[in-house]
Symmetry: D2
Subunit: 344 residues, 4 copies
């Protein structure tokens, strides 16, 4: 009953297999390997973006921070949701990599609305040289609370950014889960909607530790490479990052994994709903934020379930509602979910 | 005939095997996994340092930069060899992670002498608040030119640092190769000699991508953790870093790999010597810097050999001497060396 | 009719006179001059703080940023009002000087309440290494909206900080105006209330460009000196900063100037009140934020008045209320105020 | 007998007078004052550069660091003399403001030669993404050892930079002293020679604390303004910086002061030469580096002379040569020099 995170499950066997197959003979380091070249072509085709430049790093924070640093200046501010991963869970990494840029938290909760984004942007640069300047817009898709922006919503946010001539970064740590949820193409959920750069996640969906950073405009290439090296995120044995990502993309594994996770999440959500849970956010992909009586959580934890209590602890009145986060990773199955639901 | 780098060879099968074995079930992320706990104990025993704190990152640059940032202040300067990796090959990563500290290059070539180090240290802090303040001493063992400091030399450098109350960092990207060369213990080559923090390399000696950072004084623990996270070098699936390192240490594989590399390097050096090569540095571990006539290099490259020309190119007078770097990784064998030597 | 800012008026003649008197013969640079030594003693006595260390810089942003950088770490967050000068008007200087620390905006408007501050502090460090760590609390006295914390309020905020063992910085760009408003001593409004470091402003109250940074604990001394030099804020001809500040403190000029500004502000507030203005904040010192019909502003501007419209412009419906900021500097007099009021 | 520094003397009365005259009525802050506008026109005419953008800061370190930060990227290296002020006397300010760029010290002593500069530039960017990238060339005129590059030398250095498409910054803390020494125009010693940005010093030549930063290409304007504000170097009461600089330029005072300092330096050099001093560098402007027997220094210091011993102390064998630095500021006269020479 492991619903703590989509990074606590194992690596998908097909990806381990790809690592094993890559492990023969010599390969040039630092991205000049043959697998990386194949991966570049594969991702360019997938994204219908022949000019895109593509880089690999091993953590989502690295992907986000390096992409944002490349798109921003240190005297600017990045517009993001007030619960964005880059704000809450990266220990000032975006500020560090950008050289001290600020994050402006768009009010209104998990999902940004175009109007709230516009208000935030208009609220900056009202003081000339005294305040931070407007910088990139950062969107998380899937959001931090498990919701997914529709393509219309995504386009509307990007349109606001474009009005002010600001670049857009998409934190796609759960890119596949969002795409499967929307039933769209990679291009539709990125450059066709107005996105300039994507963190294309692999780690949370079955890889060992690999994220691609994709810029649709190649002008960012060399600066990104230098920032990646300077940030100590250039791997000498890059072929093992490329192999993971190739194994992940092969035969649609990435989509299968995401479909599996999302479907199991639906199944769990249905069960929780029946058990009377109150949903705090729309569970559009593979994460559920829901409240249940404390007694239920006590029972589940006692039985060995693993997930995060979101706004409270196991101690207190038994009938009080306590929010929890349940994440379904690619490897979860009905058996574990049924086991959990049986406890509710 | 691959002598380009010790990061271009494959991962040792035992380490891949360890990854495969680690790939089962759920594990807490970010270093709270069982393998990491085992690894901590293993390394503490190996280093005879029960209080040491131990962290994993995936690149040598990350290990060095994060360790130095933890040991320094942004208004200080780090003392290092003028050809140190942190100076020449990390694209300003130490400056970035430290918040703008300087590197003071100790004159005199690859290996620092205690006297040259002392002169450099004494040369700083002569201007009060106007110049940078004295910061950590950074030693590479194996050096960038393939030499190894004797324990006496290491102790002498550390003694100079201690006189000025400066911490010492050891860049041990090739820690095993140096240790095997000296025939000493890990403790002798680190804290017993006066070293405060070590980058303990795995990647160049058969791992996929993992380096341990070891602080012998646990006071640095929490700051390092925060700097690692802020630097985007905390892995969610840390168990796969720990598994690599455990596989690397198991049954002395790390020493076997290093012994193999060093022995093959000796064998190659012997052959080069016979062929009339001039050695630019003492080949104490698994790297050789030597000069040969350009015609010899032309012949070798034409036959498919792979290594770096150090101070010249294939074009020019045939009889001119051109320096080259030959690196023996753990996987190289006599057959490849013989093949190369046959061309000389 | 100049109410635009307290930095647009002239330097008080007594301060210019002090500069002239300081302008004779040679003096050691960089703070080793005799006037600086006198100033140190003067401020230590004024603040009843014999161990305090005292430094001069020329801008308020430098004073705030350097003090906060000294009190914080780059992986921390600074707690401040959502309209603090350090957030809105320093173009990311605190982020820059601190090496990328974050600012956490305490909700609730201009003045922080102890409860809101506590909530914000408790909201951080809930994610271990993933989120920023708790850093200094930054209080503005006078606030950015012209209010003054009572000593009780100040103590209560500092008590919350102390509970979490966080240092407190006081942005006293208008220190004298606040002190005069409260009728308290410098010590009462700083260390006796629980403040660790003060930006003691001179520029806005009649100086040419000088602010003192005061740390009540001398342990911060050398780090601050290095950060000041590294930030390019160490003046070679420091005597002219010291002379300004001595001229400012001499014979209570600083208090006279502040009393004059505050009294004139009261007089203006009274007039505005009679004219039907709605006050947006309590005008406790020398600044007024008030709304008046647009037509009134149009008339005032047409007659040459100078002040900032806060939330609107001169164009629009004549009877709509438009907020404005009126600042009384030390040099303003009843004549100018009467002139303005006559237009309402 | 004050020869310690050109920042220990008084402010020239004409400049104090300019401050006094500026001290009337209200003026917009932050550079929007009338005096600044006049100054811009004055400097553009002086430099024959109608498109130049011009900013004021209060310290030389600020001028240098902000200019270099604007011309560089954090993954680059700045080429400078191994004794440059930006390397030795700014406590890592260039590294701080640039976000961690490196300084590459061109070998060969105080003055860079075109060949040594070329070698240094060619030595970088030989390692692709691994090493720092080539950044600006920084030239000090007057040099740190009191020498002056001829126009030919200056042009030759700039030509090397131009070959590699690198911008050139001129640290003109003693711009006037160099210009007077060469007998050239401001344009000849800057953009006509190939310089892109100048720190135009005032502080060392009679001002209280003001330096102009001049970019001949206006494309740098807005970035510089933001960096200056973020660095806390934007003065609210900018008119007092502008007034100093206007007073400095008025009726050729800046050239008179420099001529006076240089002439007195010649006079002192002549006297030292007669007294048997060995000159360590060519005293081309207002600084002398020369060796004299220790006994002479002992006598001079005992008599109250003030200057820096460069490579030794007052203690030791009496007849040993000890190097010293003598600086003549604008206010020094023959009487003090004669007094010093009488002691030799």
């Amino acid at each position: 009953m492991h619903f703590a995170s989509d990074n606590s499950g194992p690596v998908h066997p097909q990806i381990l297999q790809a690592l094993t197959e890559a492990n023969s003979g010599y390969a040039m380091g630092y991205g000049d390997d043959a697998q990386m070249e194949t991966l570049r072509q594969t991702l360019r085709e997938l994204f219908e973006a022949p000019d895109a430049v593509i880089y690999l790093v091993a953590t989502g924070t690295a992907a986000n921070s390096l992409a944002l640093a490349t798109l921003s200046q240190p005297y600017q501010t990045v517009f993001c949701s007030s619960v964005a991963h880059i704000h809450e869970d990266e220990c000032n990494a975006p500020e560090f990599f950008s050289g001290g840029a600020k994050l402006t938290l768009v009010p209104g909760g998990d999902k940004m609305t175009p109007q709230a984004l516009r208000n935030s942007i208009e609220g900056e640069e009202t003081r000339g040289v005294h305040g931070p300047q407007r910088g990139p817009v950062a969107i998380s898709q899937v959001t931090e609370r498990g919701s997914v922006y529709s393509l219309d919503e995504l386009q509307a946010l990007c349109a606001v950014a474009a009005e002010f001539d600001l670049p857009v970064h998409l934190d796609g740590a759960r890119f596949a889960n969002a795409m499967v949820s929307l039933g769209c193409t990679p291009a539709e959920m990125s450059w066709k909607a107005g996105v300039d750069a994507v963190s294309f996640g692999g780690t949370k969906n079955g890889c060992m530790g690999v994220e691609a950073v994709i810029f649709f405009d190649p002008k960012h290439a060399w600066e990104f490479e230098l920032r990646r090296k300077r940030g100590a995120h250039l791997f000498s044995k890059n072929r093992y990052l490329a192999a993971q990502m190739l194994g992940y993309l092969k035969d649609g594994l990435w989509l299968d994994n995401a479909r599996n996770a999302n479907a199991n999440c639906d199944y769990l959500a249905e069960g929780l709903r029946k058990a009377g849970a109150e949903f705090l956010h729309s569970p559009d992909a593979n994460m559920i934020f829901a409240s249940l009586p404390r007694a239920t959580h006590q029972k589940a934890f006692a039985a060995g379930a693993s997930y995060h209590l979101w706004d409270g602890s196991l101690e207190g009145p038994e009938d009080a509602l306590v929010g929890a986060r349940y994440v379904c990773d690619w490897s979860i199955g009905h058996d574990q979910i049924d086991q959990l639901l049986a406890l509710l």
